[in-house]
Amino acid sequence: MKKQFVFLLAIFMAYLNNAQNIEVCNTCPIHTLKTAIEKAKDFDTITVKKGTYKEHDIVINKPLTIIGENYPIIDGELKGEIITITSGNVTVDGLFIMNVGTSYTEDYAAIRVRKSKYFEIKNLVLEKLFFGIYIEKSNYGKIFHNKVIGDAVEEYNSGNGIQLWYSNHIEVEHNHVQNVRDGIYLEFADNCSIKNNVSTNNLRYGLHFMFSNDDIYQDNTFENNGAGVAVMFSKKIKMYNNIFRKNWGTASYGMLLKEINDAEIIGNVFNENTIGINIEGSNRIVYKNNDFENNGWAIKVRGACYTNTFTENNFLYNSFDIAYNSKVNDNVFDKNFWSNYTGYDLNKDGIGDVPYRPVKLFSYIVNRTPETIILLRSLFIDIIDFSEKVSPVFTPDNLLDNNPLTKRIIW
C-alpha cells in the first residue's frame, strides 16, 4: 500500500515537473504575462494572481493554460490588440481584459485566436473594447461563460462582441454580450453551435450570420438590439427556442432572413418587435411552434420566397399578421392560431370552419404606399379590410389558413 502511494506520488511529481505551474503577480519575480509565456514550456499552466497588468500584444504561441485568479485585470491602455493566440490547445480562463485600441485599418480584438485548434476561452470579462473575441481560421474551439460589455455608440467605429471568421465546429455557450456593434458575428463559419447566450443592446444585430452553413442556435435571448438577428446567405441553419424581444425601432426586426434555404425555425418567441421576421429570398423553411406576440408585423414576406411552411404557430395581437407584396403565393399556412380569427367552430374539433386570411388589404396597401400607415386603426380601414375579407381582390386568394385553430396552441 505504502509503496503504491509512493509510486503514485512519484508519478504525480514527475507530471508536475513536466507541466510546470508558473505564477504571475505584481510582486513576483515574473510580473508580466509576456515573460511568463516566454519562460513557459508547452502544456504549462500560468496562474495570474489578482492585480493590474498593463500589457498589450501578448502572443500565446505555445499550448498553454492561462488561469486568472479573482479576475486579474489586463489593461491594454488603448494601444492595440491585447491577447493573440496562435497555437493550438490553449486555454484562457478568468481574466478581466479592458481598453482595446481602436483602429480603422486593423480589427484589434481583446482576444484573437488565429489558425488554432482545440482552444478554450472561458470566464473572461471584456470591457472597453473594439472587437471582443475574434476567432480567425480556427476550428474545434469552445467559448463559454464570457461577458462582453462594450460601449459602442456608432457603427463605423465599433467592433463585434464575438466574431467567428472562417472557423468551423466552434461552440459558443452561456455568453453575455451587450453594447457592441454585432453581438455575435459568424462569417464563413460552418457547423457551429450557439447556445444559451444573451445578446442585448447592440448597435446593429444581436446575432449575425453571413455565408455560414449547418449551424445551430438555440435557447438564446436577443433583446433590444438595433435590428435583432440577421441570418443571410446561409444554408441549413437550425434556430430553436430563441427569444427575440423588444427589437423595437423604426428599422428593427426580430429576425431578418435573406437568401436562407432549408432552415428550421422552431419554438421561438417573437415579442414586441417592429417586424417579427422579415423574409427575403428564402426557400424551404419550416416555421413551427413559434409564438408571435404584440409585433408590428409578425411576418413580412418581401418576395422570392417559395415552399415555406408555417404550421402550428401562435399569432397573438400583432398589428399585422402577415404582409405580402405579391399576388403569387407558394407558401403553406396550416393549423396556426390567429388571435384575429373571427370564424366559428360548429363541430367543436378545435379547427375553425371558415378559412382565415392572414393578409389584410391594409397591409397590402401599406406595402405599396408606406405613408398610408398613418391611417392605422382608422374606421375606414376596418371597413375596407372587412370587405376584402369577404371577397378578396388584391391579396393572394390562395393565401389562407384552411385549418385555423380556435385555441392557442400550448406545447
Binding site: 425601432g249 423604426t250 405613408e371 398610408t372 391611417l375 392605422l376 374606421l379 375606414f380 380601414i381
Partner: protein, 260 residues
C-alpha cells in the same frame, strides 16, 4: 355668460340623456376591463370606440340641444344680454356636461380597477383629454350647423353628414389621394392631411403615445421626427386647440348677425 352656462349645465345634468351617456361609458369601461384584464390593452380598444362615438354623440347632442332650447333662447334674447354670452354659455354647458359624462364614465371603472398603480395612467389620461377635445370640437361644429339652419331636419342631416365625412369618408379620400400620388414624397402631405381632420388628429395623437408609434416612424425621416419626438405631440395639441377655437369664433360671429 356663467349664469347661462350654469343653467345649461344643470339642465343637462338633470336630463335623461346625460345619464344614459354616462351609464354607457360606465358599462363599456367595466366590460372592457372585465374581458381584457389588462389596462394598456383596454386603452387601445377604448381608443377605437372613443374616436368614433364621441364625435357622433357630440354632434347629435349639440344639434339636438340647440333646437330643443330654441324657445328658451329666444326668451333670453329678449333680455338685455350679450348674444355671444348666451350662445357661448349654452355651448360650454353642453360640451362640459358631455365631457364630464365621458371622464366620469370611463374614469370610475378604471380607477376602481387600479389605474393609479398602473403605468397606463398617462395613456389613459391622454385618451380622456383627447375625448374631451373631440367633444368640444364636435359640439362647436354642431352649434355652427344648427345656427346656420333653421330647418331641424336639414340641421340633423348636415350634422350626421359631417360626422360621416370626418369619421369615414375623409379617410377614404385621404387614402385614395395617397395612393394616387405614391410616386411623390408623401410625408408632408399625409401629416397635413391628418392635421386637417380632428378625428384623425386624435387618433394619431393617441397612437403617438402607444408603442405602435415606432411602426409609423419607419417610413421616412419626417415621420420619424414627428412620431419619434415630442414635436408631434406638441403640434397635435396645438392643432386640437385651433380646432376648438375656430368653430367657437364662428359661433360668436354667426350669433351676432343672426336674425331671430
Amino acid at each position: 355668460m356663467l349664469k347661462i352656462l350654469k343653467y345649461s349645465f344643470y339642465d343637462l345634468m338633470r336630463s335623461r340623456w346625460s345619464y344614459v351617456y354616462l351609464a354607457f361609458y360606465l358599462l363599456l369601461g367595466t366590460v372592457l376591463l372585465f374581458l381584457n384584464n389588462d389596462l394598456s390593452k383596454a386603452v387601445i380598444t377604448l381608443m377605437n370606440v372613443i374616436i368614433v362615438l364621441v364625435p357622433l354623440i357630440g354632434t347629435i347632442f349639440g344639434v339636438m340641444y340647440y333646437y330643443n332650447s330654441k324657445e328658451f333662447t329666444e326668451l333670453l334674447l329678449a333680455q338685455p344680454l350679450k348674444r355671444s354670452s348666451i350662445f357661448l354659455g349654452q355651448y360650454l354647458g353642453v360640451a362640459i356636461s358631455l365631457s364630464m359624462s365621458l371622464i366620469l364614465g370611463l374614469g370610475i371603472p378604471f380607477i376602481l380597477y387600479g389605474l393609479f398603480k398602473s403605468s397606463a395612467i398617462w395613456d389613459f389620461s391622454l385618451l380622456l383629454i383627447t375625448g374631451a377635445f373631440l367633444t368640444f370640437i364636435f359640439t362647436a361644429l354642431a352649434f355652427n350647423i344648427a345656427l346656420s339652419n333653421e330647418n331641424k331636419i336639414k340641421g340633423f342631416g348636415y350634422a350626421i353628414l359631417l360626422w360621416l365625412f370626418l369619421a369615414i369618408i375623409y379617410d377614404g379620400i385621404f387614402l385614395m389621394s395617397l395612393i394616387m400620388f405614391e410616386d411623390y414624397p408623401l410625408d408632408k402631405l399625409s401629416l397635413v392631411g391628418t392635421m386637417l381632420n380632428p378625428i384623425d388628429l386624435s387618433r394619431t395623437l393617441i397612437l403617438l403615445k402607444l408603442d405602435i408609434s415606432a411602426l409609423l416612424g419607419y417610413t421616412g425621416a419626417i415621420f420619424k421626427k414627428f412620431f419619434g419626438t415630442n414635436f408631434g405631440l406638441i403640434i397635435s395639441f396645438i392643432m386640437l386647440i385651433i380646432w376648438v377655437i375656430l368653430p367657437t369664433l364662428r359661433i360668436v360671429k354667426k350669433s351676432r348677425k343672426k336674425d331671430f
